[in-house]
């Protein structure tokens, strides 16, 4: 049993997804219970796996017992287990929010949700480049369904753009994978690392081209600067739990960048070493600035949060772009923070938009909403978290990144961009907060305006507080991250050390020293 632990996080959601498909006729309550139970077990599994790999062990699972590099392997190291845990936690809260009613807007929400987790977990665990492509497709296909869940014109158009751009990305991925296979004759990532380092001179240019093509694909998933335009519309127009879950989707791109460019094209890869070093940091800085400009220019709260996701990806990839032990560790600390904070903010935005009824989340003075005090306080906390003000985890994360940037040659740029964008984020969020809460008018106004369906607006204006409770839980995860910052950053540093010593990974997979 214990030797199969590495495949359980992949196979479990697939089985549960299939089971949920069979349970559809048993009614929504059964489906919800099974779905929640599945994600809870997944969270426990991820925590258990993290506990196992925490001592630096790298679990290698040979599918079908085919020895690598011939068969596909799943590899669970610290980074993979960390990503699994973050995914499981975010998805658990997104799902808890979804069962408040979002899931009944259309069929198969829970099935798609489990399949999305199947794709995500597989992408984090796989040790094979083509298998990574397959898991990307699985998570994308599930995400198309989730994105369109509930329907609506804006959602359809945003979904169409999302699907087309990702299909183009998939094609590029296949071109890159094909080129690498044609030149190096392998697709196992550990074996690719060995073969790429020892590539003959004639092939180096083509390998570099394939590596950069892969970078373009991952940058598209991560929403890096020239390739982020699909994100704001897609995230702003989908349902709240899906947007919250998608907070982890851009991190898949960031994860792939970190994995592939430390393992295959890392600093010890000979003639293809440090392939993306000249690109990543400038693009990440530009992404951060563009994201924050988008935050300033947003006219809707959800659009603003979507741009905040882009800005957080910029910050995260700045950390990865500095490419030292401490900076990658800082990035790995910032990653869960930004995921939880963005997820909480998306849910909160949905709560606000629902309560403002026809005003939705537009930045215009609207009615005083139900539970406006607690909602306002939560907005304030989420804004502090995302902007990176003390005392919460956003501040710790940004501080760690800035500390790690001190020895770097581009320090003025990094420092300038991160501090100025933090200030601009605070300004933008203060402006939206005061528009949504301070400038709210008496509750009579919307009643007269939307008096046509009295029962409907009555229902909307007095929603339960369970949605708020879920936001509080997600935000308190960030508080836990702040309190446990010492332990988490220690773990992140150990993860970064493991990543920057790919020999261990290669040796675990191939069983031979590099």
């Amino acid at each position: 049993m214990i030797s199969h632990i590495a495949i359980l996080p992949v196979i479990w959601p697939l089985l549960m997804g299939a089971l949920l498909l069979l349970l559809q006729k048993q009614g929504l309550q059964t489906v919800r219970a099974v779905s929640i139970a599945s994600v809870s077990i997944l969270t426990v599994l991820a925590g258990y796996l993290l506990n196992i790999v925490n001592d630096g062990e790298i679990l290698v699972y040979e599918l079908g017992n085919w020895p690598p590099p011939f068969g596909i392997v799943l590899v669970a190291d610290r980074l993979a287990a960390w990503m699994l845990l973050i995914t499981a936690l975010v998805s658990a809260f997104a799902l808890l929010y979804a069962i408040q009613g979002t899931d009944s807007d259309g069929p198969h929400f829970h099935v798609l949700f489990q399949l999305q987790l199947f794709g995500l977990n597989g992408a984090f665990l796989t040790g094979d480049l083509f298998n990574l492509f397959v898991f990307f497709e699985i998570l994308l296909l599930a995400s198309y369904g989730l994105l369109l869940h509930g329907g609506g014109r804006l959602r359809t158009i945003a979904g169409l753009h999302f699907v087309i751009i990702n299909l183009v990305g998939s094609t590029l991925f296949l071109f890159a994978v094909g080129t690498l296979y044609g030149l190096l004759g392998t697709l196992n990532m550990a074996d690719l690392a060995v073969k790429a380092a020892g590539a003959v001179d004639d092939d180096v240019a083509l390998i570099r081209a394939a590596g950069l093509l892969l970078f373009a694909v991952f940058a598209l998933k991560a929403a890096l600067l020239p390739l982020y335009l699909w994100l704001p519309a897609a995230y702003a127009h989908t349902t709240a739990p899906v947007a919250a879950l998608f907070a982890i989707m851009t991190k898949v791109g960031a994860y792939s960048i970190l994995r592939v460019y430390t393992l295959i094209f890392g600093s010890q890869a000979g003639s293809v070493a440090d392939l993306i070093a000249p690109w990543l940091l400038p693009l990440a800085l530009a992404t951060l600035i563009a994201g924050v400009l988008g935050v300033l220019a947003s006219t809707h709260l959800r659009q603003q949060i979507a741009y905040l996701v882009i800005a957080s990806i910029g910050t995260l990839l700045i950390a990865f772009g500095i490419n030292t032990h401490t900076s990658i560790a800082a990035g790995l600390f910032y990653l869960p923070h930004s995921t939880f904070a963005a997820a909480a903010f998306f849910l909160l935005a949905d709560i606000i938009a629902t309560r403002r009824s026809e005003m939705s989340d537009r930045f215009e003075p609207g009615p005083v909403i139900a539970h406006h005090r607690i909602t306002g306080v939560l907005f304030f906390i989420a804004a502090i978290l995302i902007a990176g003000l003390p005392p919460l985890s956003g501040f710790v994360g940004k501080l760690l990144i800035l500390q790690a940037a001190i020895p770097h040659a581009a320090l003025p740029w990094i420092m300038g961009a991160m501090l100025i964008t933090s200030l601009l984020t605070i300004i933008a969020l203060a402006r939206s907060g005061s528009m949504l809460f301070y400038r709210a008018q008496l509750p009579q106004a919307p009643h007269t305006a939307g008096g046509g369906d009295g029962s409907g607006s009555q229902h909307i204006l007095t929603p339960g507080v369970s949605g708020l409770a879920i936001v509080i839980c997600l935000l308190s995860l960030c508080v836990v991250l702040t309190i446990g910052a010492g332990a988490v950053s220690e773990f992140a540093l150990a993860t970064a050390n493991q990543l920057l010593q790919p020999e261990d990974y290669v040796q675990s997979v191939l069983g031979t020293a590099r």
């Binding site: 369109l148 359809t156 158009i157 699907v163 087309i164 299909l167 998939s170 094909g178 080129t179 296979y181």
Partner: protein
């Protein structure tokens, strides 16, 4: 042979890219299809072009066709087939909801 296949892949890719940049959903879907044809051919020839060679390693055979790209192409075909089906349905949905087939859902531009 190599030149012919390369020109074929290049032409398919070029047509695909051109069609993807069109502003109606149908040409875009066709463009995606062309691109996936191109990439499937590309994957296939990445195992090098061989004619009449067995794909299975056996004794007293030194030259054989690489079976792995064929497996990869098979996977890629299945995935791109499913994706094409999905994007066609989605385009139809967009067309029915918007009343036109512009990729941004706009009226004639």
């Amino acid at each position: 042979m190599e030149a012919l296949v390369s020109i074929l892949i290049g032409t398919l890719t070029g047509c695909g890219v051109y069609l993807i940049l069109r502003n109606r959903t149908f040409p875009v879907v066709l463009g995606l299809t062309f691109l996936s044809y191109a990439v499937n051919l590309f994957l296939l020839v990445m195992g090098r072009l061989t004619i009449g060679k067995p794909p299975i390693i056996a004794e007293n055979i030194t030259e054989y066709a690489d079976p792995l790209p064929q497996a990869l192409v098979l996977t890629a075909i299945v995935i791109s087939f499913a994706m094409t089906a999905f994007v066609i349905v989605l385009s139809l949905k967009a067309y029915l909801e918007m009343g036109n087939d512009h990729v941004d859902g706009k009226h004639k531009s």
